[in-house]
Amino acid sequence: MRWLWVLMLLLPSLATAYEAQPLAANPQAEARLKALAVELRCLVCQNQTLADSNAPLAEDLRREVREMIAKDMSDKEIIDFLVTRYGDFVLYRPPWKATTTLLWVGPFLLLGIGATGLVFALRRRQKKLTDVTLSEAEHSRVEKLLSKGANHP
């Protein structure tokens, strides 16, 4: 009877043998994977990073990246591997290229246009204000009215 108990106690240890390797087995590699995965886009659910996504393709790509890390490839090599297959779209930070110039410069261009528009509008308004010139008679009337106001607060 006792051997049955031993067998039953041993059973759970057999089950764990089939479990996936825990992530913490190589914390350094996992940290690298995490750092890379937030820079890479999941192509199935396009507004999620590779780190966020549960899509099967994202799982596969994380597996590929994990294997490349295990092969001691540099971050640049890993990113190049993905870019040659999926294009710049896989990067959350697209590189500076002829085709991406508008993407990078566009916001500053719009800001510049807005700022120049504002400067012009303010200048024009200022011009309108200073353009009003008073005659001698109007000026003395203004003075009189103001001094009157000063007496009766």
Binding site: L43, V44, Q46, P56, L57, D60, L61, E64, V83, T84, R85, Y86, G87, F89
Partner: protein, 175 residues
């Protein structure tokens, strides 16, 4: 009058951009692999696991590589188009059973018909990654030298076949 002309002009430009944006499909990404050598593979065949199919065996002819799976809805949509194309005999279609289960894939082909010359099995999806596959079905046109000339993302339709793929295939076959 002039005051409203500039905002109105800007409004028209923005509407123009948005209108064009609505007609674009954000899922269709230009593949960096078009014009480059098709990634090599050597995989077991679906119908006979003992036999292998290698991309090297296919050199010297124009061929289509179609990534599909029994779980993929779009694959069923394009299936009649593939069957029709296979019947015409214009170009051989090689299937890539992507991240699928063998018995389900075989049952699927039995039920809907088999347009493929040979089907390769890419169960872990590694060949898919090499080809930059991110949404099945995807179809590649590969020339005699083994260079990818065209990539179709999403289901094939008769009009895409007539307008783009078949003219390209004929041109490549005559080279």
């Amino acid at each position: 009058m002039n005051r409203f002309l500039i905002p109105f002009g800007l409004f028209v430009v923005v509407v123009g951009f948005l209108a064009v944006g609505l007609t674009l499909n954000p899922r269709e990404l230009p593949s960096p692999l078009v014009g480059k050598a098709a990634p090599e593979f050597s995989l077991p065949q679906l119908h006979d696991q003992e036999k292998m199919i290698s991309s090297n065996d296919l050199k010297g002819q124009v061929w289509l590589l179609n990534f599909w799976a029994s779980w993929c809805g779009g694959c069923k949509d394009e299936h009649p188009v593939l069957i029709h194309l296979a019947q015409s005999g214009e170009v051989p279609i090689y299937g890539m059973d992507y991240k699928d289960q063998r018995n389900e894939a075989l049952a699927w082909l039995k039920e809907w018909g088999n347009p493929y010359s040979v089907v390769a099995v890419d169960e872990p999806g590694r060949v898919g990654i090499n080809y930059g596959v991110y949404g099945v079905p995807e179809t590649y046109v590969i020339d005699k030298a083994g260079v990818i000339r065209y990539k179709q993302i999403g289901p094939l339709r008769e009009d895409i076949l007539e307008k783009k793929i078949l003219p390209l295939v004929r041109e490549l076959q005559n080279q």
